[in-house]
Subunit: 335 residues, 2 copies
């Protein structure tokens, strides 16, 4: 057991790729819960594209992490001390916490995890905490795909994108994914069952989309923004939907990023573009977990965890999300 | 009675402001209906921002007008010859026709107008054919404004915008309009009852919006795109809606128009941006006409027609829509 607590603290706002001086790795005293509180030990830390948003002071959907504060993260842990009657020592919990071995749960932000039923705690946390529900609600609630329609997803070998494409197949749609390497493209087609894949670093995206989507695009699940979004705008069908989940292509930008020049297609094709974060669906989580768990058990859904080791590796592993080195759900096993 | 038919024909795609050589004004034979057809004489021609789209070959929501063809327009006329049992000589009709004194109705595109009940045929055509239902469905169906919310509309002294703001007031919202002159701003506040107006040619739009919308923007009814859209994106409230009706700021562009750089606000504030054209609501027209007619009769809705004279003036009058010279619904009285 460590006697001290290791905590990643935010020291400055990143410019471009997250530099080594953006966070510092501190050794501190282990915090003690007071009345009504409980503390937990971090078992798994989820690394997500949105971490880069929280570090910055760009416009965002919750307040950025304050300078000097522990870095915010999606966490899974085990309760070690409790002065809260609803949480007992040994309970497995997950939610919005920090990058620290030991931490006091912020009120309402950390909840007990349901029994993982046949999958490991790490897999259950990786699939059910954020990624699966994000894909599920974004695609089905906002994208509303009909059988036979064409669903395109960017960052398709990523944690969310790989599930979006598989749910599209489960719903009898044509699934087309964009990814950044031939290996990733092979994986989503041969292993995950996508109908087609486009290597956006190598292919001309517009003409590749035309070939892969001969009947146009009905749903574009947008994880990246930028040029891929612009190319999709041009090939959207009438009344198409664009659930908007992320802009990973521009989080590391150091100068102003141009907007999508084909934005007027929203009018011309009467599109619906809608942003969401999974927290908007907090009260419908059980629906997503039941469906995803069922597909997983039936072998219809494959889920790949990219499990790294050690809290001290958080920053170097996080950077992989923005350079395309990672494949599947990136997580860190801590304890 | 003219013995010949005067017809505006499209000769070339416009570049920038519509030039004198884009359309030609021809004298031709009056067309004769064959079995199942009917012909009508043009009484009123509606001039609308979308006319510029139809002339161009930009991506658009219906096929552009072919070179050599009669210019497409929203028209009101009187049946003069009929070989169609559903239409009798003397019937007042309106719909999608052409810029010509006499014309054969395209199948399904021209319908009988209901009795105008207390307003002139010209006013009824101006308000009910396109403009009123566009404002009605765009604001209420897509914008879904709740009492106390703030509705911002661009081109607010224009035909659609002036009605959007008044419906917002009827629905107990705060109505803020952007227009291009102090006279227009005065008109929408003092005559139409908007809560505030911004002269976008004189004021700094971002800071003026902050002052006019102290509680942020819940609905931005977009008629213009461009920089005003970008400024609104930055001040949208959580779960805000952007019904997207037009991009008049860029129809005359001669070089590529940049996209809205604040597009990621769609994610950060979980916005819904949705394009529409009023034809999507064809089967719900009676609902809009009943509501608009009621408000008109009760004095809650004011409607201003900018009536010009003579089919030969169509092009010089149409240009006013893009230079901001016009105020209210621009129409031409033909016969």
């Amino acid at each position: 057991m460590t006697e001290t607590n290791r905590v990643w603290r935010l020291r400055k706002r990143p410019v471009g790729i997250i530099g080594d001086d953006v966070l510092s790795f501190e050794h501190e005293a282990i915090p003690e819960p007071t009345d009504g509180q409980f503390s937990f030990r971090l078992n798994y830390l989820s690394l997500d594209p949105t971490n880069r948003i929280w570090m910055s002071d760009m416009d965002q959907y919750m307040p950025p992490v304050e300078l000097g504060a522990a870095m915010r993260g999606i966490v899974c842990g085990t309760v070690v001390k409790s002065k809260n009657p609803n949480f007992a020592v040994g309970d497995v919990v997950s939610g919005l916490g920090t990058w620290a071995d030991y931490q006091i749960a912020a009120p309402g932000m950390i909840n007990k995890m349901g029994p993982p039923s046949g999958v490991s705690v790490g897999d259950a946390f990786g699939l059910f905490a954020v990624v699966g529900p994000t894909a599920y609600f974004g695609l089905l609630d906002l994208g509303d795909p009909k059988p036979g329609e064409t669903v395109v997803v960017s960052a398709a070998a990523g944690a969310v994108g790989s599930i979006v494409g598989q749910i599209a197949k489960i719903k009898n749609c044509r699934a087309v994914g964009l990814a950044g390497s031939d290996a990733k493209c092979d994986w989503i087609v041969k292993e995950l069952g996508f109908d087609a894949a486009i290597n956006y670093k190598k292919d001309d995206v517009a003409s590749a989309l035309k070939r892969a989507c001969p009947k146009g695009i009905d749903v574009y699940f947008d994880n990246v923004g930028g040029e891929i979004l612009d190319a999709c705008f041009k090939q959207m069908n009438l009344q198409g939907r664009i659930p908007t989940c992320g802009f990973i292509s521009q989080y590391n930008a150091t100068s102003e990023v141009p907007g999508p020049k084909n934005y007027p297609m929203i009018l011309m094709q009467r599109l619906k573009v809608q942003g969401f974060i999974v927290l908007d669906y907090a009260n419908r989580y059980p629906e997503a977990i039941t469906a995803l768990g069922g597909w997983l058990a039936q072998g219809k859904l494959k889920f790949k965890v990219d499990m790294q080791e050690g809290l001290e590796t958080a920053v170097i592993n996080l950077r992989k999300l923005y350079t395309g080195e990672n494949q599947g759900k990136l997580m860190i096993h801590v304890a």
